[in-house]
């Protein structure tokens, strides 16, 4: 194992310098991150992993988690991309407020998000009455799960997409305009391909965040197997009932996350060639 100093400007070269002092703290953090995951896998290996992983509760939670997170990511992409584009290209009054609103869910504790959603859209909520007029009651529904997930994960997508749009060379945009392209053509033929990587990595980030969402879900959507009991809820509640089911679900979530991160990595490498 050679420690090579990485520099973006110069080609990677083997260096004879080795900074010992950087390694120790780093290793301690790696231990903190790695040991619990290793323990989880060891525990899973010890039990009947597949029996528990595909038990009714686990399978139901798995299906629900994947369905809701995919829907919420799709929604994030559909409404988030135009928003990111707008933020990256046009200045407008209230822009700072929009940026604040987008950044807030990322730092807000999920339970606060859940409570806020409940107070806003609950049956007795501030806007709950209006929803009731439309015949919609949100709490305890799968839709509530999707809304909670979108609330916490869409900002992650928007932020990534925006960075992508902002990194496009303005001269390229100018050139395209000079060629007579319309706004839509500019967006579709030039911007999207160039920002593909940022969009996809943003989507994956949003997806993993959706999969892991717990606090807002349990407060706003409740807990009912098959309807609102996503994997994180099943793990939290299953922990007391059946530790092995909780462990199996946890391992699955870790594996899915690893897979998604690997895809992101691969995209990074692929795009840069």
């Amino acid at each position: 194992m050679n420690f090579r100093r990485l520099s973006s400007k110069h080609p990677v070269k083997t260096s004879s310098r080795f900074d010992w002092w950087f390694v120790i703290p780093g290793m301690m953090l790696l231990a903190l991150l790695g040991l619990p995951l290793a323990a989880l896998f060891l525990r899973a290996l010890g039990s009947d992993f597949f029996v528990h992983a595909f038990s009714e509760t686990a399978f139901s939670a798995l299906k629900l988690s994947f369905f809701t997170s995919l829907v919420s990511v799709t929604v994030s992409i559909l409404v988030g991309t135009p928003l990111a584009y707008t933020l990256s290209h046009w200045d407008f009054r209230g822009r700072a407020l929009v940026e604040l609103l987008i950044d807030l869910p990322v730092v807000l504790p999920p339970s606060v998000a859940g409570l806020a959603l409940l107070i806003a859209f609950g049956r007795q909520g501030v806007f709950g009455g209006w929803l009731a007029l439309l015949g919609v009651s949100l709490p305890f529904t799968t839709l509530a799960v999707i809304i909670a997930q979108t609330f916490v994960s869409a900002p992650l997508f928007v932020r990534s997409a925006r960075v992508g749009f902002e990194s496009i060379d303005p001269q390229l945009v100018e050139a395209t305009r000079v060629e007579g392209a319309s706004q839509w053509q500019l967006f579709y033929l030039v911007m999207l391909p160039l920002t593909g990587r940022a969009l996809i990595s943003g989507a994956i980030l949003a997806w993993t965040r959706s999969l892991g969402e717990f606090g807002a879900t349990i407060l706003f959507a409740g807990n009912l197997e098959g309807v609102t009991q996503t994997m994180p809820l099943a793990i939290y509640l299953g922990f007391e009932r059946n530790l092995d089911v909780a462990v199996a679900l946890s391992v699955m979530l870790v594996l899915v996350s690893v897979l998604l991160l690997a895809i992101m990595r691969w995209l990074d490498k692929y795009q840069s060639h």
């Binding site: 004879s16 310098r17 080795f18 609950g122 305890f140 807990n223």
Partner: protein, 294 residues
């Protein structure tokens, strides 16, 4: 400046040849340290800090009580009374579903007293030797009641209405004592109110909560049409509409209380248990809607 950098670089050059060995040594030390600090040892220093073993008389002593969620209001008051009788003592409560608390204790949480909403959770701890032998005693009884929000949006006036299609019902999860009792009550009501009652009622459940206070909160918020909680819970939230469950269909929940085996304050813990069982403690419990043991 250059001299310092040079010296630093020289130092680093010296270590260069031994890199691999050193990396593995560090890793080994970390792993060894991690396994040497087995869970109890790691927790004990923390609990020492929490329990505040007094080195001098002026330091505060802490008693940690894990109690079922339904006991929150009553135990807060009992705790205050107990603190008054024992200056310098602080009683800290951890409220939650009894099954959650039991799991926390099993996983090494440090506590002195455990008050459970059912005998099951206490028995589990007794079997795995977490409870001081012979210290478990029943200290109150409780019964269930159906509640609706004050506005009663679904117009529930009798237990039979809980089976009305489209009603939004919230129960505690079946692992929670309150949830388990609720299922027992529904079984009993099946015989009184006819076949299919339990099934219809369970079909109306929109959420199974982790402890009984969460059921109460969601009813208070008006999110659900009805729920089943403890009789004692209605004292804390009197504005909810109650639908009595007849004694013959109801369950009598017996709550046990015990000192935990690894308690750092066994004498104080026993004193607390005695206090709860005393006239003063029982009076507070009655005030908050609990029934005496018998």
């Amino acid at each position: 400046m250059t001299i310092i950098v040079n010296k630093f670089n020289n130092l680093i050059d010296l270590t260069q040849n031994e890199n691999m060995k050193k990396i593995w040594t560090v890793l080994f030390i970390l792993i060894a340290a991690a396994s040497a600090c087995s869970a109890p040892a790691a927790i004990n220093p923390a609990s020492e800090a929490l329990a505040g073993e007094p080195t001098s008389a002026s330091e505060t002593v802490t008693l940690t009580v894990f109690a079922a969620a339904s006991l929150a209001d009553a135990f807060d008051e009992i705790g205050q009374n107990f603190e008054r009788d024992h200056p310098g003592l602080q009683v800290k409560f951890n409220y939650g579903g009894s099954q959650t608390l039991r799991t926390q204790i099993e996983q090494g949480a440090s506590a002195d007293v455990f008050a459970s909403a059912n005998q099951n959770e206490m028995d589990t701890l007794i079997r795995s030797n977490f409870v001081m032998t012979g210290s478990s005693q029943l200290f109150l009884s409780n019964m269930l009641v159906a509640v609706t929000p004050a506005a009663n949006p679904a117009g529930v006036s009798a237990l039979a209405d809980l089976a009305k299609p489209g009603l939004k019902l919230i129960l505690a999860a079946k692992e929670v004592p309150a949830g388990n009792y609720s299922l027992q009550v529904l079984e009993k009501l099946e015989t009184s109110l006819g076949g299919g009652y339990k099934e219809k009622v369970l079909a109306n459940v929109v959420s199974y909560e982790n402890d009984v206070k969460q059921v109460l909160s969601k009813i208070q918020l008006g999110e659900a049409d009805a729920g089943i909680v403890y009789l004692s819970d209605t004292v804390a939230v009197p504005m909810l509409k109650k639908i009595e469950i007849p004694v013959k269909d109801n369950v009598i929940a017996h709550y046990p209380l015990a000192v935990l085996d690894h308690s750092k304050q066994p004498i104080l813990a026993r004193a607390f248990v005695a206090f709860v069982l005393s006239g003063s403690g029982q009076a507070v419990l009655t005030k908050w809607g609990f029934l005496p043991v018998k």
